[in-house]
């Protein structure tokens, strides 16, 4: 059966750490790190990246549009 696997890339320097992407993700992929970026914001990070399906939910709710999403079909 074909499965989909996804991956996200977060533009860390433009992330404002608002956390809006976290409840938007059905797979609980995203967390906020303790470190801060150049603007002083704790930024988002795909802590549970393996669970990502590339559904783009996080990217379309991100007010700053900093998430890029990739998806592939994997035959298993």
């Amino acid at each position: 059966m074909a499965k989909v696997k996804g991956a996200i890339v977060i533009d860390v320097e433009r992330c404002k750490g608002c956390c809006v992407c976290i409840p938007a993700c059905p797979q609980d992929v995203i967390q906020i790190v303790k470190e801060v970026n150049g603007k002083g914001y704790q930024y988002a990070f795909p802590a549970n990246h393996d669970a990502c399906t590339g559904c783009i939910n996080c990217a379309i709710v991100c007010p700053d549009g900093v998430i890029t999403v990739y998806r592939v079909k994997v035959e298993s």
């Binding site: 696997k5 996804g6 750490g17 809006v20 379309i60 709710v61 007010p63 999403v69 592939v72 994997v74």
Partner: protein, 258 residues
Amino acid sequence: MDINEIIKPENLVYKKTKLFTEKPLSYCPGCGHGTTHRLILEVIEEMGIVSDTIGIAPVGCAVLAYEFMDIDMQQAAHGRAPALATAVKRLMPNKFVFTYQGDGDLAAIGTAETIHACNRGENITMIFINNGIYGMTGGQMAPTTLPGMKTSTSPFGRDVRIMGNPLKITELLANLPGTYYVTRQAVHTPNAVRKAKKAIRNAFEYQKLNKGVSFVEVVSNCNSGWKMTPNDANKWMEENMFPFYPLGDIKVPQLEKA
């Protein structure tokens, strides 16, 4: 499968639209202004009308919208965006013209311009960000502030006996003969974003028909003004704003019978 094998150009499914300039958005973290800007730009890009669109920026937090949207734009005096849009559209009737306005701009100082542009049936699109407050100037009460809602000028909550009733301007505008399409949306969840984008697309498509104003309200958070975290503000919005400002279409075009 290794994550780096997935991150390849051929697997790209979503990326920020090229119609954003390189400037970082000036909005507070988690503010719906940014999301709404993006949806408008995605619609303009997908419709292939980049060089045929003129936007009018308001006064309010979105005063610098023209710095972020890489399209032709003008910036109007506070509340006067519909008047400026009227002029632009009448001079260039083949262009897509839209205003982008907050509730202080559209429903307070600009009430006259809003109502008359909508009543005249100007062939423009109006995008209305309703966060129930004057965001830019420090969270003062707006005509849209809910009964009981605390703001910097109603610290004990809006008392309607003294401060008057909130104005459901969108319902009022839907009653005018010059509005063709009127809808109320939100942008705080993936589903809401998908619906809001469809509504904005509809609004721009309807503009081609020259049948009057297409109007999209976006109920949005002002988490700074409401003094909450963005996710708490979105929850508060669902629990308090949506019952008073219910989401959905308010006026849809009556399709002429073939």
